[in-house]
Amino acid sequence: MSSSIIVPSTAAVPRITAPPNVAETAQARQVRVDRLIFLYLGTAVALFLLMGLAGLTMRAHQAGLLPLDATQFYVILTLHGTGMLAAALLGTMAALWYVVQPTLRLESGPLWLAYFLAIVAVVCVVGSTLIGGFGAGWTMLYPLPFYGWWPAWSTALFLLGNLALSLSFGLFCLVLLLQVIRTYGSLSQALALPVALGRAGGHHGQQGQHAAADPAQRMAIPPPPVLIATVTSLQGLVIVAGGAVIGFGLLGHLVDPAVKLDPLWAKNITYFFGHNIANITLYLALGMLYAILPRYAGRAWQTTRPVALAWLVVLVCVLLAYFHHLYMDFAQPRVLDVAGEGFTYSAVTAALSVTIFGALLLIWRSDFRWTLGSLLLYVGFSGWMVGGIGAAIDAFIPANFRLHNTLWVPGHFHTYFLLGVLPFVFGFLTHLLEGISDHETSRRVRMMIVVPLLVGGYGLVGTWLLGGLMGLPRRYAEQPPGGAALGTVAVAFVALVIVSLLLLLREWWRLAIISRLPAYGRELYDLGFRKVS
């Protein structure tokens, strides 16, 4: 198998001299990073599966198959949303960190701290929901957290959990941003502004130059994963700041009810934070995709002028697209509604023209190496595109008038997550395991995993999208006419997804055993493993 792999030239990846204060050997540092990445990915997988069970519980209840009190349903809904976000963040943070680490020489200490904060967040959220009964939904739209059946301490604990998750992600972004600026000399270089302005690079120009040891001479063009790391870490810091603003506002009201927030202002900040932190998981995953897909295509994906320009558009437009969540708040200034449409469609244009078209071009007539890992990444790519169709339609104001807060909304974002982020993260993990074990999954097992995932996944999201067209409201513990039947069909599709995931877990276990992963830690210090690059 190994002899047939086409590996892009390593000269395309800048090799930057490690900072002089690194004491341990480069390989030992890589050891710690790899184990930490597996810890992140393993936790993400566990959370995805547990929160998936929570989701199945809700869908089964809506189908009339599983009795639940309404309060129990809404508590599970709250836990499911937040838990899935944590899973998506952990998985995609690890994926991006892994692919930029060889270029940026990141210290793993902050990543450990970020992991610890994420675990604290998960514990807080689980405690506030399953023990405290907090059920305001993961968006905690003011003033609902203060009008529920749950005690005040569970509101405080949930808020603290969200703050911890924000801190975790914020720390990740800060470390990434500081290191990328340190490596490339300036934010302008890290954002590939010279390339965007046409002053450097080009389609076949000065790509992937090595950064000079002398900071004054650094003229490196960041490869796409590093460019995306710059964009997402900048966005991440702004998002976390927004989350802190609304978080402390809510805490303030909790401590002193005389501290009141303007509901429209609160809704704006809440959706600024919520829309962006959910969306950014996709963009973190895309950073990984820009690094990993070329390995299977045997071609380099370079920071050309369109790539640099597109990611600048994404930097601004994705952040401000959040206005599309407030179209039905007629009190919102009209100009912000139309701006929300404009920013959304600008981001869509950038994504369609550059990343999506670029990926398809990369794969076209490439003798692409189809493995389970690369196939899952391709599934994720499909989920991102189809989820984007649902989102773009919902972002059209006249359509939103009929679709807002119907099942169309969970339909499109579950397409993004179940068929986008999850396959991206699972595909990345599979890529690592296939590489370390030097084994590939057989075509038969690949089909047994991917086909049920596609049929079950698209079938499941299809029930939501159809429900949305039928006008069925979202977040209903008990369904209006037609909802229960859709719920029953949805449960059948979930069964297919479960079959796929069980087979995937089995395949991971097989690959892990082959690579002697349980002894990984000991082996690595013997420098006996084969690094997956």
């Binding site: 309404a70 309060t71 007629f330 244009t349 071009l361 076209w364 490439s366 649902g390 119907t406």
Partner: protein
Amino acid sequence: MGDNATSQVLIGAVFLLLAFSVAVVLVVVARQARGPALPYAEVTRPGYALRRLWFGVVLATAALAVVVSLFLLPYPGSAQLAHAQEVRVVAHQFFWQLTTTTFRVGQSINFAVTSADVNHGFGLYDPHGVLMAQVQAMPGYVNHLVVTFRAPGTYIVRCMEYCGQLHHVMEIALVVKA
């Protein structure tokens, strides 16, 4: 299903067309990816030219969508508000309070919607169960939604914004007479 369902049918058709197109593209690209590889420069030469065209098409479609939306906005203008009969709507956990629930066909109604506690959503369903209009009910704000009833029957208002444990039972019937 009546005129109210036309929007949803159109949305569904557009979605299916685009999703099917994505599926076709992904399958074709995946199949083309098998077999001997072409040098990348031979792919990018026509590919980048095609991308310029594609970018133009996408940008034009997006711009057109924004322009078209400006003619189909659900937000009532001052003229519409002036000619509509105002009905005050106050949303509570977990019931609706309206100044009247009986209307006549052809009446233009300005639902002035607010909330006494948390965010709710005023979702109006026609006698066929089709969602025909909605607006958020926000504490401290009054949102105006203008609706003209074109057919008699019983219309249902459901809550469209999660508001607590009885969110799903918060509904009220409006009667429209000929």
